[in-house]
Amino acid sequence: MILPMLPIWIIDFAGSSLMILFSFLCVHHATKLRKRDEDNIIWTYLIWVSYALVGFAISRGVGHIAKILLMMAGRRETWDILRPFSGGMNTLMFALVGSTTLFFKRVWRVYQQMAQDKAALEQAHEKLLYLNRNLEDLVAERSRELVRSETKYRRIFEASRDMIAITAGTGKLLDMNPAGKRMLGIEDGAVDQGELRLPDFFARPEDWEGLREQLQRHCYVNDAEIDLVTRDGKELSVLLSASAECEIGEKTETFHFVAKDISQRKAMQQQLLQADKLASIGQLAAGIAHEINNPLSIILGYTQLLIRDEPERSEKYADLRTIEKHARTCKIIVEDLLSFSRTTHTRKETASLHDTIDEVLNVVRHHLDLDRVNLVKEFDPDVPSLVLDRNKIKQVFMNLIMNAKQAIAKEGEIRIRTRYVPTEGTEGVVHVDVEDTGCGIQPKDLSRIFDPFFTTKSTGEGTGLGLSVSYGIVKNHGGDILVQSEPGKGSTFTVVLPVTAEDEAFS
């Protein structure tokens, strides 16, 4: 088998020429690419590879072409001199292309990191430039935002009708809003002195301990009903919510409290309960009074018939008189019970409330003067005429004034104040305050004073029906009786009567 060398030499010659040509074209393209972006490491790599390939193509191609040409010229010895250089250069170029490629992978990773860092730096630089240019505006805007925020929250703090307080974990008051100060009777500046403690205003110290424990455990407390004592000793009920803020770094704890005064609401609830109770008692009393009224009338009638036939000085006559007297007493009590239960007939007419009160005052004035009880009238001229049963309303004020006098005993003052309170949607109401400087009512008795037969007077002094009858009469007029009392300072009974048109009242 003979294998001709000519095809090999032809391919070598053409191939080497093409290798040289394309390697230069590659360098040209890679150079153009690099000019597009001189920082791009990929284009740099491709330029290196292209240059190495130029070196490779020239060293190899020139070697091959020179070999063919020298052989054709019969200069084999010259080729033998050139051959090691061509081969050596060739080897060097392979190594260069290989190394470039291997190092490129590593360089590429570094380049990626550098590119990321560069982007981050450029971003930071841009941000810094922006901040530098707009620092003043940004600070001003931030300050405005802070002021707005501060104003908003300060307004909530200052204008809240409920108490907002901030205390340290020990209970020391750090700040309190004006509503809280008013609620507890704390003067301005007292909180800033840093000597006040919130627990001191708790009616029961154990309430504070319980609150604190719950705050430390759960970080919040919701709607706890707490009794507080104001600086002037007045007790009030509040609905208290609290949260704890723990600054672990500073090792301090702060409690935030919001307290809503629910004393009035509780009082109203008490009144509703009381009204409900009295209504039940009223129904019971009405039933009993009706049942007793008839036998009493028969007893009284027959007793009077028997008296008529008896000589006045006889023993039997005296006994019958005793029966008659006690039967009448029973009848009065029964009538009072009927008044309380509002089952008795009322005769309402348009009348002046002031005249009605004056009539009562004329009766009791002498009695009051004897015990040096000063009577003060403050009548509001705007009070209109009311539709009322004058006799029954007189009975109400008589009861209230006599109770006030008995509470004062000797030396004091009874102030009777009327005022017209217009209300939306109705014609308004009239308030009549009967205020005394007497002994006051114990808090435990306040809820029972309108109960029938409840009395704090000694036996024989009162039946305990006065206030319950008054309550029944006022309710029958569509009104209400309210009471405020402080033991040792006096009481104020307020009769609230609605202003109604006559046709409405009789309808």
Partner: protein, 163 residues
């Protein structure tokens, strides 16, 4: 920093003294004889092929081969690998010296005469001798790759892909 002490001061002095008293010939420069150049050349071929393999791996790992320009670069690398394998085999067979005889009475009339029994090996040598059939396509693919990359760079898309 760790200090490595093989001999102490005394040990070093004793070693120096022994060297002075009993000298031996020292060959400072090594002679690089005949087959070493071939081995280095073959190693360079292997290294070139390996680096091209790494380049293909890197292109595929970054999914750059979806782009025509990078795909062409991958083909260029593949042809360079084939060319390196081809030339590696060719150099090895040529170095054996027991496969064939080359007769060169003239350039256009030169031939290869295989030795009896190893004709197919001589034939492999003959075919692998036409290595330009592999390295020319490789460099053409490289040129084509650069051409596409340049066009894409003008369109501003390559950098995004390469990043």
């Amino acid at each position: 920093m760790m200090r490595c002490r093989i001999f102490g001061v005394g040990g070093s002095a004793a070693f120096l003294l022994a060297g002075l008293l009993f000298p031996l010939p020292a060959f400072a420069v090594q002679v690089h004889a005949e087959p070493e150049g071939l081995y280095v050349h073959q190693m360079a071929h292997a290294f070139f092929a390996f680096s091209m393999g790494i380049l293909i791996y890197w292109l595929r790992e970054r999914r750059l081969t979806a782009h025509k320009g990078w795909r062409r670069l991958q083909y260029a690398a593949l042809f360079f690998i084939l060319w390196n394998v081809d030339t590696f085999i060719n150099h090895h067979l040529e170095a054996r010296g027991d496969l064939f005889e080359i007769a060169t009475p003239g350039v256009f009339t030169a031939w290869i005469s295989p030795n009896p029994g190893v004709e197919w090996v001589a034939l492999v040598f003959y075919v692998t001798k036409m290595d330009h059939l592999l390295c020319v396509p490789a460099i053409v693919f490289l040129f084509s790759s650069l051409h596409h990359l340049l066009r894409s760079a003008d369109g501003g898309r390559v950098e995004d892909e390469a990043s």
